[in-house]
């Protein structure tokens, strides 16, 4: 499902654009260094194929509803993650421009939700190990269904986080998650089955495609490490920040002891004041929680009052805002690091 411009704040849109732009730059760089240019038309034509395939619906047996191919995973399998990421981004850009699916500011979110997760997480970490070097029908089926489901679940979770972090919609985190994840479980199953069918078909018709599909994939072996670290950061940010939230952290606690106040008062003028004003303006999760905790509390609608109450009482203090801050914080740090690395890398060949 496409994130829409109307539901995001510029801060969230900007962060996600930064992340997606960084990934796009990285993927382009990788492609340029490993490109045999027969893949250029292949990428373009396959993206067009996905575009057309998304509009052919089939009836899902027994339900009366219909489904179609999403295409992220099959592109990743046929093209490799980097080329697939660019292809998906291009499809999303055309959809955003011509059909107003999503929007221009939300395009960064959409590229991330629908491109990053299937290409850089689901494909290398789930599909590839499960399918193995010599895939057969059963392996392909299992690998694509699981990878598609995981990719779409993460993507749907991304939509939820971006919406909640933007604070334009009042929909509370818990009920939005409960709405989105099951829907995307169904979508993911359909996507996985269709992808698997196509792969099995292709495996029969063009077995040579599966042999030497990815030139340059073994150039650097750092990628699994980086992705593993990113996943670990996500998990840590998501789960451990529940434990960290309610007490002031060590430094704040110590400062509170020393000065009697929880946070040091900063000089009112000069560069510090300007910077902190800037930071206040841009920080949408000040003090690792949402700007309006009382609004978040109010969002606990009567429907979820029971659930929310239980969560609030239980320890650790499970708060959507805090875990979101953890996840986003970890993620932003990664992005920043990635951008710095990219800048440095781009500069290096100039000097040489």
């Amino acid at each position: 499902m496409h994130m829409a411009d109307a539901l995001i704040s510029p801060a969230v849109g900007g962060i996600m654009w930064t992340a997606s732009a960084g990934l796009l730059a990285y993927s382009s760089q990788r492609l340029k260094s490993s490109l045999d240019d027969s893949r250029v038309p292949l990428m373009g034509v396959l993206a067009a194929f996905v575009f057309a395939a998304q509009m052919i619906n089939f009836s899902i047996p027994g339900t009366g509803s219909s489904g179609h191919l999403g295409g992220g995973l099959i592109l990743a399998v046929l093209l490799g993650p980097h080329a697939a990421f660019l292809s998906i981004a291009s499809v999303l850009a055309v959809q955003a421009l011509f059909f107003a699916d999503g929007g221009l500011l939300a395009l960064g979110c959409n590229i991330f939700n629908l491109g990053f997760f299937p290409c850089f997480l689901a494909y290398p970490l789930i599909f590839k190990p499960l399918a193995g070097q010599t895939p057969d029908k059963a392996k392909l089926m299992a690998a694509s269904v699981i990878a598609a489901v995981v990719g779409l679940q993460l993507g749907a979770f991304g939509v939820v986080m971006e919406t909640v972090a933007s604070g334009i919609s009042d929909l509370p985190f818990s009920s939005f998650v409960l709405l989105m994840q099951p829907i995307h479980l169904a979508i993911g199953l359909v996507e996985g089955v269709v992808t698997a069918m196509l792969l099995v078909f292709l495996h029969k018709a063009r077995p040579e495609l599966f042999g030497a599909i990815q030139p340059g994939a073994q150039v650097r072996s750092l990628r699994p490490v980086i992705i593993g670290l990113a996943l670990a950061a996500l998990v840590c940010g998501g789960s451990f920040s529940w434990f960290a939230a309610s007490d002031p952290d060590g430094l704040e606690w110590a400062m509170g002891k020393v000065s009697g106040k929880e946070e040091l008062e900063a000089p009112e003028h000069g560069i510090h004041a300007t910077l902190s004003a800037l930071q206040k303006r841009f920080a949408f999760l000040p003090d690792y929680n949402f700007k309006e905790p009382e609004a978040a509390g109010r969002e606990a609608a009567p429907a979820e009052a029971g659930l929310e109450g239980k969560q609030a009482e239980s320890w650790p203090n499970v708060s959507a805002g805090t875990s979101l801050a953890g996840v986003l914080g970890g993620f932003m740090t990664l992005c920043l690091a990635g951008i710095v690395a990219l800048l440095l890398r781009r500069r290096a060949p100039d000097k040489a």
Partner: protein
């Protein structure tokens, strides 16, 4: 959406982009930058703002009028984009019931305000995006993005996709027509039919990619698409366009124009407004 309709929609916008108006002749970079600035300044307004969003409508409206884009088309497309936004926004009036303002005897809750705000945002963002495409054209937008620093690989990819989208969609339409002539009318393909449909389409796609590559090599492809149109410079007209819209957008972002006008109107009719 059927493929026929989708293709028709794209061609519609393409035809509009092929017009020749002063706005169409502007360098694409100016229009892309102004649109981005519009989106950021409009979407950064607070969640309860409704009236302050209204002056922003001047941007898509004026551009559409200047560029000869029919408003009916814009509104129809904008309506098509609403369902997801409505699905997420519809909960606001139910969840946020604090009263924010009263109009006579009618109390307006915060949720209703933010819901209205979401719908307005969606309409404004969608129409602006479509107007940008209709007065600029996809190839020019890509060129502008390339000049603004988009990686070449992505630029070539976008141009390729756009070139072959029509070819492959036509191929798919032909396959669907062939199927429709052999099946009961109005039925969707079953999963098995779908597999062979998409599978053959995929095989044809791969074959086509190989043929295209051969053809491109014969014509001396060097990794970049050649420019067909002469490039336009970022001249005085572009600076004027950016400056004027920039000033306008900053003004409506900072000043509360509707409130000011409302206050003036209230002053003319004492007793109506507090």
């Amino acid at each position: 959406m059927g493929i026929d309709n989708a293709l028709h929609d794209i061609r519609c916008l393409d035809d509009l982009a092929a017009q020749d108006t002063p706005l169409h002749r502007l360098d694409a970079r100016a229009k892309v930058l102004a649109t981005l600035f519009f989106l950021v300044s409009m979407l950064s307004l607070g969640r309860y703002e409704v009236s302050r969003l209204l002056p922003f409508a001047a941007f898509p409206l004026l551009m559409a009028v200047q560029g000869g884009v029919p408003l009916g088309l814009l509104l129809r497309r904008a309506a098509l984009a609403l369902p997801f936004v409505l699905f997420v926004g519809i909960f606001n009036p139910l969840l946020d019931r604090s009263v924010h303002l009263t109009l006579g005897t009618v109390a307006v809750s915060g949720g209703m305000l933010s819901f209205a705000s979401i719908i307005l945002r969606s309409l404004l963002a969608v129409t602006t995006g479509l107007v940008l495409v209709a007065v600029t054209g996809f190839d020019q937008i890509c060129r502008a993005l390339g000049l603004l620093g988009m990686p070449t690989a992505l630029l070539v990819q976008l141009q390729f996709l756009y070139r072959y989208l029509f070819v492959l969609a036509d191929e798919a339409v032909r396959m669907l027509h062939a199927r429709a002539q052999r099946c009961a009318p109005g039925t969707r393909p079953s999963l098995r039919e779908y597999r062979s449909l998409l599978g053959s389409l995929l095989l044809r796609t791969l074959d086509r990619a190989g043929r295209i590559h051969q053809a491109m090599l014969c014509r001396g492809f060097n990794g970049q698409m050649p420019e067909l149109r002469a490039g336009t410079p970022f001249g005085p007209a572009e600076w004027r366009f950016c400056l004027l819209w920039g000033l306008f957008l900053v003004a409506v972002r900072i000043l509360d124009l509707p409130m000011y006008l409302g206050g003036k109107a209230g002053g003319l009719m004492p007793g109506v407004l507090p």
